[in-house]
Symmetry: C2
Subunit: 217 residues, 2 copies
DNA sequence: TAGATTGTTAATCGATTAACAATC
DNA sequence: TAGATTGTTAATCGATTAACAATC
């Protein structure tokens, strides 16, 4: 009795899935074959109710009186997250951050495959990042016409992003992982995930300020 | 008539502040001196109600019939976010990502100052990242005793993080920006901000899968 | 003054938690 | 069977939106 297929799942739930996935992966590594929502809730510091509610948005993966089979649930979440396939990725802006991402081996392991990198800086063009050669940004458009690119990583200065984003969209890129400090305007058939590191560190400095405020009281 | 000082502000509100800050900065750059919640709401794609509610958690920054003074509001949010001071930062794990962060000039500009970097890889130790020399991880503890470190950037493999985290905490580091794929257990007087890039890209692949599912219907 | 727009209360909406019948 | 634990409904809580009196 899986739930209404057309029910729109809230982003709050979706954002929790990778964390479930990580914990289940850890359990799997430790050879644990079953887990109850109660035990998992203790490990993760969330309520068992939330875990069951979240999972039941996607299907009935548990068994009454038993709990969840770790391997099966792991595989289900993998599928839900779209991690049961490969994604071709390119990097736009192969500076330090772009190169760091290209060199990060975990992405490849999970099916995110870098197939190209682009930059406009002639000092960088021609060098390699990971196992790919950095091309001049002028080669981006022809490259997109020749290759299927699922995801573009945008790690360029914010003032360049609005020029690049339409080129990506017009040439069939459907996913943008946006590290540039700007909000992209993209059509409905393109999805954007922002990774705004500056905003993340600002949240941290807020928390630090709160901490000090409370200490003084 | 500023609000109850002791009211705990929800993380949802806090996470929106850096975005307000960014938009106000842009307005400032464009020489715009005043803005109403209505106009800002159109620019940002949120409701004017939400903007006013959010801001009023911290004080009454607007003027009826006029709106908000951009420069003043920008300065207020800067203060709220704790960006009116400097933070000494160190990097634990000076691999590609750590070095990329150290080289990123915007952090320095905003008051986040890297004063040290540590790694256990002898091939990396001794090299420079940004303008700091990478030290051996064994020098971390003495360094912490000699220098005030506000924030540690944790960009090391997950299995090393639980060893390093207590060293930081015991030596007075109060903020951890955690790029390692693990949840840190820290006492109440330490704040952690997670920047789990793998979880971010998984959210993107989920969105892509949703997109394709809808296309097929 | 009249128009604009805030600050704030009230209404709505959605997300989380609690409770428990179903059932393994 | 008895105990455990789910899936799911109902209750609660919190966050967002709407509305409007206050006031610049």
């Amino acid at each position: 009795m899986s739930k209404d297929e057309n029910e729109k799942i809230s982003l709050a739930v979706v954002k929790r899935l990778p964390r479930y996935y990580r914990y289940l992966g850890d359990l799997l590594e430790h050879g644990i074959t079953r887990i109850s929502s109660g035990d998992l809730s203790k490990k993760m510091g969330v309520t068992a109710s939330q875990i069951r509610q979240d999972l039941n948005k996607f299907g009935c993966f548990g068994q009454r009186g038993y709990g969840y089979n770790v391997e099966m649930l792991y595989a289900e979440i993998k599928k839900i997250l779209g991690l049961d396939r490969e994604y071709n990725m390119i990097i736009i802006g192969a500076g330090n951050l772009g190169q760091a991402l290209a060199n990060y081996p975990n992405f490849r392991k999970r099916g995110f495959k870098f197939i190209g990198a682009f930059d406009k800086n002639p000092d960088i063009v021609g060098k390699t990042a990971g196992d790919i050669v950095i091309m001049d940004i002028s080669e981006l458009e022809p490259f997109l016409k020749e290759n299927r690119v699922d995801i573009a990583v945008l790690s360029i200065p914010k003032y360049n992003a609005p020029k690049i984003s339409p080129i990506l969209v017009e040439n069939g890129v459907r996913g943008i992982w946006n590290f540039s400090h700007i909000d992209l305007n993209t059509p409905d058939n393109v999805v954007v995930e922002n990774a705004h590191l500056t905003e993340s560190v600002m949240t941290l400095s807020y928390k630090l300020s709160e901490l000090e405020k409370n200490n003084k009281e």
